[in-house]
Subunit: 102 residues, 2 copies
């Protein structure tokens, strides 16, 4: 994944309920749909009690396309109803990237 200043990161942090029904299937289905969005750059996810998922986008327009995706809208409603105790979603514009690899 190659990120540049001006690209966007969406930081989604969440705490889960104990309802697991359809959760993983829906997550995987949504991932396959997100990857088809023009401007989707990548996604990274980790959980340890708190879940953090960061998705990366070329620009605001690509985030907006994803935000309006019908299956995504349905999943968000289902998420509020069943899977999540709480979440926050932060849209941020990338200014600087650095890295290290052994």
């Amino acid at each position: 994944m190659k990120l540049e200043p001006g690209n966007y990161a969406v930081i989604f942090t969440s705490t889960r309920t104990d309802v697991d029904t359809d959760y993983l299937e829906t997550f995987e289905h949504l991932m396959s749909l997100a990857k088809e969005i023009d401007g989707f750059l990548g996604i990274e996810s980790a959980r340890k009690g708190l879940g953090i998922t960061v998705s990366y986008w070329r620009d605001k327009e690509s985030i907006e396309l994803w935000r309006r995706n019908a299956d995504h809208v349905i999943a968000k409603n289902r998420g509020r109803q069943d899977w999540y105790k709480s979440y926050t979603s932060i849209i941020s514009k990338i200014e600087h990237c650095s890295g290290f690899e052994k």
Copy 2:
């Protein structure tokens, strides 16, 4: 933690080596130092293979203060030498926050 547009998120993703010596102690020491930085707003962390730590800052100046903190500089060198196989660090400016809580 109250975030506003114009605040900053630093997204640190990493993969670890199997060297654990001093890792947790250093992480906790650095957290206590970061909290003392004027403009530090909060931090969230999760790991599942990949680790994702997001720290939140009032502005770029507070990130810069933290970036130059002597113990932080030492820990970064140690991190590259011992604890991390790879990492990326992304500085991004928050444009929009939303959330949900049951």
